[in-house]
């Protein structure tokens, strides 16, 4: 795809895509308003270790937790670290996929730069592999099966398709002959549009709550002086 000359179908798809984004923003705004409609829990107890840790310290550390595999026993060493790496790849894939969807409609030329094309494509491919692993992990492990809902399975299946289609779409944008059809991009943008509308109602909206839940738990435990754990 040397130039971005959208057909009327592609143009319509891009419009739908942006409308979907608008819907997502509106629903997310409502979600946050809903979350903040609940009263704030307050801890009136005296700080636990005022000389060492404050609520703010706990909150900040908690937000950074995602980038510190050593901070949790569950992501430290062996299997835990591998799981953390897969988590990173999976979420980088999501970022790459969203980037692909929006950049392709605004600055498609960027995605034609070979280095960019390789980074986006390979990241999404890795994320695809992780998503497949996660799907089977959820399906085959009794513990995971017990705690999984149709939403969990569907979200993963959707992401598997989305990552796969994203890799092909990136190849299409990069000009790979075999994927020259514009249909790949149209399909990808339609799937992304569905994704944008579905996400606020599904478990995938966890990333909206993530900063709040981490900040609040970090603050609460930081106030008590128990997090981050620090040797005297």
């Amino acid at each position: 795809m040397p130039e971005h000359e959208p057909s009327s179908l592609l143009f319509a798809t891009e419009v739908i895509h942006w409308i979907a984004l608008g819907v997502m923003v509106i629903v997310y705004t409502m979600r946050l308003r809903w979350l903040f409609s609940f009263k704030a829990g307050k801890d009136r107890s005296a700080p636990g270790q005022p000389d060492k840790i404050s609520a703010k310290d706990g909150g900040v550390y908690s937000l950074g937790n995602v980038a510190m595999p050593w901070a949790m026993e569950s992501t430290r060493g062996g299997r835990g670290f591998v799981f953390w790496v897969s988590f990173v790849l999976f979420h980088l894939g999501v970022v790459a996929g969203i980037g692909l969807a929006f950049v392709s409609t605004i600055f498609p030329g960027v995605l034609q730069i070979p280095a960019v094309a390789w980074v986006v494509g390979s990241t999404m491919f890795c994320a695809f592999l992780v998503a497949v692993y996660r799907f089977f992990r959820r399906l085959l492990r009794p513990v995971m099966r017990l705690i999984s809902s149709p939403d969990d399975y569907f979200s993963l299946l959707m992401l598997i398709c989305w990552f796969a289609l994203g890799v092909v779409t990136q190849a299409h944008i990069a000009g790979v002959e075999r994927f020259a059809s514009e249909s790949w991009l149209i399909a990808y943008l339609l799937l992304t549009s569905f994704f944008l509308i579905y996400v606020p109602f599904s478990k995938i909206s966890h990333y909206l709550y993530y900063p709040f839940s981490r900040w609040w738990i970090g603050k609460a435990l930081g106030h008590r002086g128990s997090y981050p754990y620090s040797r005297a």
């Binding site: 609940f38 829990g41 569950s74 981490r214």
Partner: protein
């Protein structure tokens, strides 16, 4: 509407009141990634049971939330596994999950990448169930005692005061003076010391040791006759109202005394509840400082208020972090600093501080006997860790942990003692000469010049104790013991003190002789063939004409103390461990008889 639905409705209404932003974030934040799974000691020890995973436990509350508050859950409940709606039949199952498969240790909370506080969610679920009266019988009984009697073990005020006086007497005997006696309700004291009722019932010597440490530090302290129980079953049952009431009792006692500092004896949940949670539950304005006795003892040593000799605790120790002290109150290093000052050989457990594994006794688990087999199985990982340290003793700053670990060690047949820091500090304590010096003689005794040496109080006490070569004259005492040499010893000592002694060799005979002879007091062994002492004691308490006869347990099995106090009858008036000291036997029996007369 049917009754069963009404309970569920009440739970749903109650949930509405518990929803804060933080709680909602934990309810909506779970992505079911399973990362919490490996952090739970129930999962580690029940790998074949997927229902042990923390997110499954929290999902039980999440389902109620989703059906009633979440957009997707209320429209398409099946899509997010919000279930079909609860009925009364489901509540017992929920009770087993919330109370029987989680000790609220909060280990999963620290291992959740989303910051979901699963332990808090489980406590909320417990609270909802308690709100409609669905809870384990043990939790119900203990909560009732705490509501009605003011402490979780139903200790009567007179027994509590009695125990404090008893400990003061023992201290006086050991020190040779009365200056270390436990002050009660001393207005204006700087420190109020509050304890766990378990100490009164099963481990009163921890009170004596704390008193000794306060005395050695020259502290201006007191205990209180009301609001002395620092424990709080509201934390376990999820009942914030009970939690707030228990906290307020202690805070009111502080206000009554006008003290500056509240010192909480070594108890994890008691510390967390009193220091951190009850402030929120009760809404009280706190104007004083609260600390664990661990911090107090550490300060005394660091500031030179007491001296210790660590070589007195020379065996190998390890330390168990109470979940409530550590993960919920940031209390990691203080006990370790103290351990370093009073012991010589210490080895950490593999999982420690923030990552410490539960003792199995947390969350009120010790009161829920129906879950004991599962609880003990969940202790396997802890037992293995303890064994790996090669420690002869495990230290913990929590009474629940003492019981929980004690059970685990016994179950896994490990020869490891459980001890607390108060024991170690008291053992290592070095008193100076002034502290050891006897009381000065009373003015009217004699002019100093005519008294060559000040008669020490110990002599006076011995005199009092022995005063009675005939201290028990005219008393009729029944000695119950299956061991002949013990019977002979007790009989000789008591007869020498002037008592008339009757003998029984087992529980059946004890009741028979007691009915016939109507003794003034019974000394009772617990471990006997046939009807043992525990059964005999219960029967004695229920037999007309004998129910008020004082009983002094004399046993070589201190672990049975719990069993006998757990009986639904008035507890025994005295308790002595074998081997029995001759003097103490007579003085204790005399004391019990005197108290009985005073009450009559």
């Amino acid at each position: 509407m049917e009754m069963k639905d009404r309970k569920v409705q009440m739970m749903e209404e109650q949930l509405q009141k518990k929803l804060t932003r933080q709680v909602v974030a934990s309810l909506v934040g779970c992505v079911h990634c399973g990362m919490c799974n490996d952090s739970c000691h129930y999962v580690m020890t029940h790998p074949d049971d997927p229902k042990m995973t923390p997110s499954y436990k929290a999902d039980q509350l999440r389902k109620i939330f989703k059906r009633n508050h979440d957009w997707t859950g209320s429209v398409f409940p099946w899509w997010v596994k919000a279930g079909k709606g609860l009925t009364d039949d489901d509540l017992d199952g929920l009770k087993d999950i919330a109370f029987g498969t989680c000790t609220n240790c909060r280990r999963c909370t620290y291992n959740c990448p989303m910051g979901v506080d699963t332990a808090t969610l489980n406590r909320i679920m417990r609270g909802l169930l308690s709100h409609v009266g669905v809870m384990p019988e043990g939790v119900k009984v203990v909560s009732k005692d705490q509501w009605e009697i003011g402490n979780q073990m139903g200790v009567l005020k007179e027994d509590y005061i009695d125990t404090l006086e008893w400990m003061s007497e023992e201290l006086a005997e050991e020190l040779g003076h009365n200056r270390a006696a436990i002050p009660i309700d001393k207005k204006g004291a700087k420190i109020v010391y509050v304890i766990n009722p378990r100490e009164v019932k099963y481990d009163p010597r921890t009170i004596k040791k704390a008193a000794l440490i306060f005395f050695a530090a020259g502290e201006d302290w007191t205990m209180v006759s009301e609001g002395w129980d620092q424990t709080n079953f509201g934390l376990f049952s999820g009942d914030d109202q009970l939690g707030g009431t228990c906290g307020k009792r202690v805070y009111d006692a502080m206000e009554e005394i006008g003290a500056e500092r509240l010192v909480i004896s070594e108890c994890g949940h008691g510390y967390r509840s009193t220091r951190c949670e009850a402030v929120n539950w009760s809404g009280e304005e706190i104007k004083f400082t609260m600390e664990s006795s661990v911090m107090t003892m550490l300060r005394y040593i660091k500031e030179g208020q007491i001296k210790v000799d660590k070589t007195k605790n020379a065996e190998r120790f390890t330390f168990h972090d109470s979940c409530n002290n550590a993960r919920s109150c940031g209390f990691y290093e203080e006990p370790r600093e103290l351990i370093d000052l009073v012991t010589t050989d210490f080895e950490e457990l593999e999982h420690n501080r923030q990552e410490g594994l539960c003792c199995t006794g947390g969350g009120g688990a010790m009161s829920m006997t129906e879950y004991t087999p599962r609880r003990l199985r969940s202790g396997e990982v802890k037992a293995n860790e303890i064994a790996a340290t090669g420690a002869e003793s495990i230290i913990t700053s929590c009474h629940n942990c003492v019981d929980g670990l004690g059970d685990v060690l016994k179950h896994y047949k490990m020869d490891v003692k459980v001890t607390q820091l108060v024991d170690l500090v008291a053992e290592a304590l070095v008193l100076d000469e002034a502290q050891k010096a006897p009381d000065p003689v009373v003015a009217e005794v004699a002019a100093p010049a005519e008294v060559p040496a000040v008669p020490p109080v110990v002599a006076k006490m011995d005199e009092e104790k022995e005063m009675p070569a005939d201290a028990l004259r005219g008393r009729r005492i029944l000695v119950v013991d299956d061991e002949e040499d013990v019977r002979l010893f007790l009989t000789t000592v008591l007869e020498d003190a002037g008592a008339t002694v009757f003998i029984a060799t087992d529980g059946n005979e004890a009741i028979e002789v007691a009915q016939r002879e109507k003794p003034d007091l019974i000394t009772l062994d617990l471990s006997m063939p046939g009807k043992d002492g525990i059964e005999a004691f219960t029967e004695l308490r229920k037999t007309a004409g004998l129910e008020e006869t004082p009983v002094c347990v004399v046993t070589g099995h201190p672990e049975f103390r719990k069993l006998i106090y757990d009986r639904p009858v008035t507890p025994p008036e005295g308790y002595m461990d074998k081997p029995v000291d001759e003097g103490k036997l007579v003085s204790n029996i005399r004391r019990i008889l005197d108290l009985r007369e005073k009450r009559q």
